[in-house]
């Protein structure tokens, strides 16, 4: 895979009178179709196994082993593609582009983890996602981030999801794949910038648990939303919580919500009600602001589309505002198409981006508004529990729960 691009990048030797024969370019053969179905089978097995290990076996060590397998198979062996995270874009494009058909592998990778999350929580993140597994094996000395910072940074993932959908729906490209920090490491080749980005993420992962999953992963947002309604997701303790707080100490992802002290388990105060009312009233305002801001940004986002970029380049060249010409503009002029046609197409695309930008703004506004409303609630938790959205079902907390140890003792007669 790596030799061909290097050869193609090389200029041919000069002085053709030497009789030098250019080597025949070869392209790697396409992957056998049957292997795609094998991927789906492996995915299903891994998801089922992860569910069983997390929910029934409650065994961290086996979960780690499975995640190592996923890292090797879906990551280094399958080169990180197809991946569930990027499949969001294929599914979005299929919704907006009637000429695009989603490959069945992509469909499976996009939908199956979500279906599992709907019933069993984020078991895909626990042991099947190679991105998560890679960061998890790098985690050595976790540093606990303040909760406020955790919530603030998590907003980025929602924005990233919105932008990814905007670009995929408008033909602007697959930004999740383009800026995937790990896929180039899985492939052991790629642009130096993205490899270094991946290395930075891995170095961060040594101290901050799964930074990409927590603060950027757009698929994690969807899995979190699906997992929040799951009935059988991972629970910390198999019995009554002793409130020892060890699970919270053990979780490097801030995904365990602490118990509400009895003194604070009170009915909402007038202040609470007033705060809640204000934030509910603010929700439409935040959404409308998002609509407005998103519309404003559409014009700039449109530059990501190759047609708009070409139209801009041609216009600036015609106006003498930029020197020289690019390969794309030279090719366009050689094609003989009227620039007006290109400009009209670009204007139509810009209008589409403005609409998409508005919808993205509404999405972000809705997320922020609802988050603020949720933070206005006075919680009432009788025991420590996993956060339905944030918990990646890594099974770390099980090993630290005294009740879990009692269970294992009762079952096996000895401590694990």
């Amino acid at each position: 895979m790596t030799a061909a691009p290097i050869n193609q990048r090389f200029p041919p030797p000069q002085f053709t009178e030497t009789g030098h024969q250019l080597p025949h370019m070869t392209a790697p053969p396409p992957r056998a179709g049957a292997l795609d179905y094998l991927d789906i089978v492996v995915l299903c097995i891994c998801l089922a196994l992860a569910t069983w290990l997390v929910l029934r076996r409650r065994a961290r060590r086996e979960v780690v082993l499975l995640s190592l397998f996923s890292l090797l198979y879906f990551g280094f062996w399958r080169n990180g593609c197809v991946c569930a995270i990027g499949s969001i874009q294929n599914l979005t494009q299929a919704l907006f582009d009637s000429t695009y058909a989603v490959p069945v592998t992509v469909l499976a990778f996009g939908v199956l983890p979500l279906v599992f999350a709907l019933f069993f929580g984020r078991v895909f993140c626990a042991a099947v996602c190679p991105h998560g597994a890679f960061q998890d094996v790098m985690l050595l000395k976790p540093v606990r981030l303040p909760v406020w910072l955790e919530h603030g940074l998590r907003l980025l993932a929602y924005v990233y999801l919105g932008l990814a959908v905007v670009f995929a729906a408008t033909g602007g490209g697959y930004i999740i794949c383009r800026f995937d920090p790990f896929v180039q490491i899985f492939r052991l080749t790629g642009s130096l910038t993205m490899i270094l980005t991946g290395v930075i993420f891995l170095l961060l992962s040594m101290f901050i648990g799964r930074p990409y999953c927590r603060f950027l992963c757009p698929y994690g947002v969807l899995l979190g939303l699906a997992g929040s309604v799951s009935r059988w997701r991972a629970r910390i303790t198999p019995d009554k919580c002793t409130q020892c707080r060890r699970c919270q100490d053990a979780c490097p992802f801030n995904a365990i919500n602490k118990v509400t002290p009895k003194a604070q388990q009170i009915d909402p105060t007038p202040e609470d009600k007033r705060r809640l009312a204000i934030r509910c009233a603010l929700l439409p305002l935040v959404i409308v602001s998002g609509l407005w801001l998103g519309g404003l940004s559409g014009d700039s986002l449109a530059k990501a589309h190759p047609t708009v970029a070409l139209a801009e380049r041609v216009h600036l060249e015609d106006a003498g505002a930029v020197p020289g010409a690019t390969d794309a503009s030279v090719a366009f002029r050689a094609e003989g198409t009227a620039p007006e046609k290109l400009f009209a197409e670009a204007h139509a695309l810009v209008a589409r981006y403005v609409l998409a930008g508005r919808l993205c703004g509404v999405w972000v506004g809705l997320v922020v508004g609802l988050k603020l409303i949720a933070l206005a609630w006075r919680p009432r938790r009788p025991e420590y529990e996993t956060d339905a959205v944030r918990c990646v079902a890594c099974a770390r907390c099980f090993d630290f729960c005294p009740q879990e140890h009692k269970r294992r003792q009762g079952k096996n007669g000895v401590l694990d």
């Binding site: 090389f10 030797p13 000069q14 002085f15 030497t18 094996v137 790098m138 050595l140 909760v147 406020w148 910072l149 919530h151 603030g152 907003l155 924005v159 052991l188 080749t189 130096l192 490899i195 290395v199 002793t242 409130q243 020892c244 707080r245 060890r246 602490k258 118990v259 002290p261 604070q264 801001l293 998103g294 404003l296 940004s297 014009d299 700039s300 449109a302 530059k303 708009v308 139209a311 801009e312 216009h315 600036l316 106006a319 003498g320 505002a321 007006e340 009209a344 670009a346 204007h347 810009v350 922020v368 988050k371 603020l372 933070l375 206005a376 006075r378 090993d399 630290f400 005294p402 140890h405």
Partner: protein, 569 residues
């Protein structure tokens, strides 16, 4: 563990270095190879040189391949192996350490007030939202630069935000013209917009009452003109003459176009002083097209999408200090006052071009010396007159056919201020010498005044008095019918922009970017100040329309509007 980490880090660094060094671009752009190629172009038959190039080419290729081989799979596998060893060691030390005994007593949690923590978290969410909003704001500063989309009706433009006019006539009515600011100092060249309303203070640094500010793509001394929702400006440098269209609501640069005259090399721009620059003439628009003139003699029309309709060269416009006369429009005529040299040179003329084609309609010789003033189109007794000033004449023409209607020989020296008509009195200025009051059609001036005579700026009148400011900051108010001074006041500043009356305010815009707002009247009364920054070195006259004032600085175009009015919209 440590040795594995050091090994991985060293190997990773080496791979990154070879990756950077092994770029093919390094081979293609090798300076020594380029030098030899250049030499071969001069000596194409030099066989020894060819051999030298071949040898160097081969050497460079070998080097590049050697580096690429270093980063081949073996090295990367080694790196991965080192990483795995490191992780195994690190996990062995840090992760698989003894676990807490399950029978330890529970530790009491140290609870903080949950709602307090939640409010801090909400603040963090809002802060992140603010960062995202700031990012979006930055993003919107770089929109896609495309030509404006074609209007539904080819030659129509929205007027004052209204709907495009289908099948618009070839030129606008006077009522339509008066609703806009289509040329230098407004529809009648008086520098007065009685209905416009602007705030009494603004500040570009803080953003107070500044609706928007946009970077100027090119510098120029020409003034902004406004038609409906569009602001047009020109700019030039040694390489090109440009026209720009901005969105009046947002300040977005809708398009920029470079003037290109077919069939000939672009005339070199004349040598001009810095105070005049290469695009001193203000453009004009009729809402169908925008017309531009530059000192190298290039004149052109652009449609509202930025497409050049016609362009031609009307000959050299060499003039001391640089050419500065702005364009005037009357019906389907583009009127250009070209005054050059001394009277005896017979080089001065008044030229009318067809706005649709740019072809000459008529031209009239003028027995005047070089000037820097602009023609002023006024209405006297219901009929149009084009007022021009240049030593020694104040001369009126019929803009339809160029026939001279009347003249008064009273001017001298290098005339730069343009004439105005107010309350049936024309005010014409002989710089540093005298100001003359002339009734239209009369053969001699009515009055002559010698107080505060400006050198570059034009006068402005509120109908009872006229106001002048010279470049050194001396402001003079005098009676319009007698020329007698009412008051004088010195401002510690310099002025190149002509004074403008906006509603009930007299605006004096200084070189330091400070607008002094006075109340027109029989006494000096400063009612406010606006600032756009001294680095802007304002020299162009501002353009008021509606609730806004457009100010061109050296670096930016500003839209001034009362914040409340902007919010209400």
């Amino acid at each position: 563990m440590l040795s594995a980490a050091v090994f991985s880090a060293a190997l990773g660094g080496l791979l990154a270095w070879t990756q950077a060094q092994g770029k093919v671009a390094a081979l293609v752009n090798a300076p020594e190879l380029a030098r030899l190629h250049e030499q071969l172009r001069k000596q194409p038959k030099d066989e020894a040189l060819k051999q030298q190039i071949r040898a160097l080419d081969q050497q460079l290729r070998l080097d590049t391949f050697r580096r690429l081989n270093l980063s081949h799979a073996t090295a990367r596998t080694l790196l991965l192996g080192g990483l795995v060893l490191f992780l195994l060691g690190a996990h062995g030390v840090l992760v698989f350490r003894p676990r807490p005994a399950p029978h330890l007593p529970s530790r009491p949690a140290q609870h903080v007030e949950e709602m307090h923590m939640r409010q801090v978290t909400a603040l963090a969410v809002v802060a992140m939202l603010a960062i995202i909003v700031a990012f979006v704001a930055l993003l919107t500063r770089h929109p896609a630069q495309l030509p404006a989309p074609p209007a539904p009706a080819a030659s129509a433009v929205a007027t004052g935000g209204g709907n495009p006019v289908a099948a618009a006539p070839a030129f606008p009515t006077m009522d339509e013209v008066r609703k806009n600011w289509p040329s230098f100092r407004g529809p009648d060249g008086s520098g007065v917009n009685p209905t416009a309303q602007i705030p009494t203070n603004w500040n570009a640094a803080t953003g107070v009452n500044v609706r928007w500010q946009s970077a100027m793509p090119l510098a120029g001394m020409s003034s902004p003109i406004v038609w409906g929702n569009s602001v047009f400006l020109t700019g030039a440098d040694e390489a090109s003459n440009c026209v720009f269209r901005f969105d009046a609501d947002t300040g977005k640069l809708l398009w920029s176009a470079i003037l290109k005259v077919a069939g000939g090399a672009r005339p070199a721009p004349p040598k001009v002083g810095d105070d005049t620059g290469l695009s001193a003439p203000t453009p004009a628009t009729d809402g169908r097209r925008v017309y531009t003139l530059f000192p190298n003699g290039e004149v052109a029309a652009f449609d509202l999408a930025g497409k050049q309709v016609w362009a031609r060269n009307i000959g050299p416009l060499e003039n001391n200090y640089g050419f500065a006369a702005s364009l005037a429009l009357y019906q389907d005529r583009l009127l250009i006052q070209i005054d050059r040299g001394v009277v005896e040179d017979n080089q001065s003329k008044l030229l009318a071009l067809d706005i649709a084609t740019g072809k000459d309609l008529w031209q009239k010789p003028r027995a005047v010396a070089g000037s820097w003033s602009s023609p002023t189109l006024v209405e006297v007794d219901g009929k149009p007159q084009l007022l021009t000033v240049a030593a020694p004449l104040l001369c009126a023409y019929n803009p339809l056919d160029g026939a001279e209607l009347w003249h008064v020989g009273c001017l001298e020296s290098d005339v730069a201020p343009s004439p105005i008509l107010a309350s049936n009195m024309i005010v014409a200025i002989a710089p540093n010498t005298a100001i003359f009051g002339v009734k239209p059609g009369e053969a001699k001036f009515t009055w002559k005044a010698e107080n505060g005579v400006p050198d570059a700026t034009s006068p402005v009148s509120d109908g009872q008095r006229f106001y002048i400011v010279d470049s050194e900051g001396m402001v003079t108010c005098a009676d319009l019918q007698t020329g007698k001074a009412r008051w004088q006041h010195e401002i510690e500043d310099r002025f190149y922009a002509s004074p403008t009356i906006v509603g009930d305010k007299l605006v004096l815009l200084s070189r330091k970017g400070v607008a002094y707002l006075l109340r027109p009247g029989d006494k000096f009364e400063l009612i406010g100040k606006g600032e756009v920054g001294k680095e802007e070195e304002c020299g162009a006259s501002p353009a008021p329309l509606g609730n806004r004032l457009y100010i061109r600085g050296k670096l930016h175009l500003f839209c001034i509007e009362e914040a409340k009015a902007a919010t209400a919209k």
